[in-house]
Amino acid sequence: MTTAPTTPVLALPAPHSGGCPFGPPPAYPEAAATGPMTRAKLPDGDLCWLVTGFAEVRTVLSDRRFSADIRHPAFPLLVAGARELITDNPDFLRLDDPEHARQRRMLTGEFLVKRVEELRPEIQRIVDEALDRMTAGRTTADLVTDFALPVPSLVICLLLGVPYEDHDRFQSLSRTMLSRESTVEQLREAQEGVLEYLRDLTTRKRAQPEDDVLSRLAARDDLSAEDAAAMGVLLLVAGHETTANMIALSTALLLDHPEQIPGLADPATLPGAVEELLRLLTIVHTGLPRVALEDVELGGVTVRAGEGVMAMLSTANRDEAVFGGAGRRATDELDLHRDARRQLAFGFGVHQCLGQPLARAELQIALETLFRRLPELRPAGERAFRTESFIYGMRSLPVTW
């Protein structure tokens, strides 16, 4: 083998070609097999570290020496030229404490585990109605457009107080924002478009408050109108595209492994089954970006202050030492009886997904109900994956029952 200097540096984001359609781009597990830290190159040409080990990923995401502040001049970006889109007031996903904590705490009350438990009957109703519509008078459907997308979209619209009639508009804008094929110009337009929409809506909510999250944000005097709109965009985009793709991918994967579907039927094993689906699918394939504020020894290398790192959730979630073991299938396979509670699909550290109790409830209810009500559910044609998106998912999944 050649030595390090002549080894080609892995270019990010790696293409999604070859390998299992449910797994991450093969280059990431290949890098993980060589060690927990790999040199990689960003589209703008800067070098960064691909962090693939379970322990190292947890460290990056919970150690304050790694910053999530996108305004840092060396913050790793996966779209060439995207640095010019960064504004002075990013949403709190890309800010550090104390400002991150200040803004996040304005929302935590909305996503308490017990608040979400109270929402379950409402989520169940949304799921049942979506299935009623999907099955009324026909025997085939596209599970993506008829079920996986509308369910989380209806739920987040209800919580935020966004009129569902507008969902076409923000859905296509958020698609553009999440696509790695978008040009900087398209990204700018989409970003402005969604912000504009949320600005209008929060202004209306300030004038005529209702019982919803956006009204409560709009009414605060410690949050600027601009920050309230940015928070609305974050919730809207984070809240529906992720869960929708998890529902679609989970369904497709389970249809490939029908012998495991009974694992969803028992209320005692359903939560664990959903953790395993989250682990194996880890839809944020590209990893989570951070920048080192100081020199940090990690995984046998020194990450220098000012270097970018990408915390790769998908490879961390396949660590055999953590998720493997006697009697378990290999970690790149589905095993609904695995103890997957350590999975990192929602990230780790202070930015860990704020919506995770909601996402869990939606996934549990949607998947359990789907396979209970349609026990004969099976594929009915060519399925297509959404390989161009930063959030991995499905474009279509034709089914019959």
């Binding site: 919970s62 904590a101 935590t108 996503f111 308490l112 585990v113 509670r341 550290g349 202070v350 704020l354």
Partner: protein, 72 residues
């Protein structure tokens, strides 16, 4: 076993409530972690240890193994 929580470090993920609902709760007023019980029975040791390991804010500390009292 002793459990203590540092509310300044809590980021309200709810992971502890999901993993050990008998021991942890989220405060209605500020959404931060709260202990529900002062004595952790041995059958909950594993859940509590997992909750401490998985707390994304590193806000939960577990000490000792015996069926001891809780602190904080």
């Amino acid at each position: 076993m002793q459990v203590s929580v540092d509310r300044d470090r809590c980021c309200s993920s709810g992971m502890c409530v999901t993993n050990a609902p008998e021991v942890f709760d989220q405060d209605d007023r500020d959404s931060l972690v709260m202990l529900r019980q002062t004595v952790v029975p041995p059958e909950q040791f594993d859940d509590v240890r997992l909750a401490a390991e998985l707390c994304p804010g590193r806000a939960i500390t577990v000490t000792g193994d015996g069926p001891a009292r809780t602190g904080a």
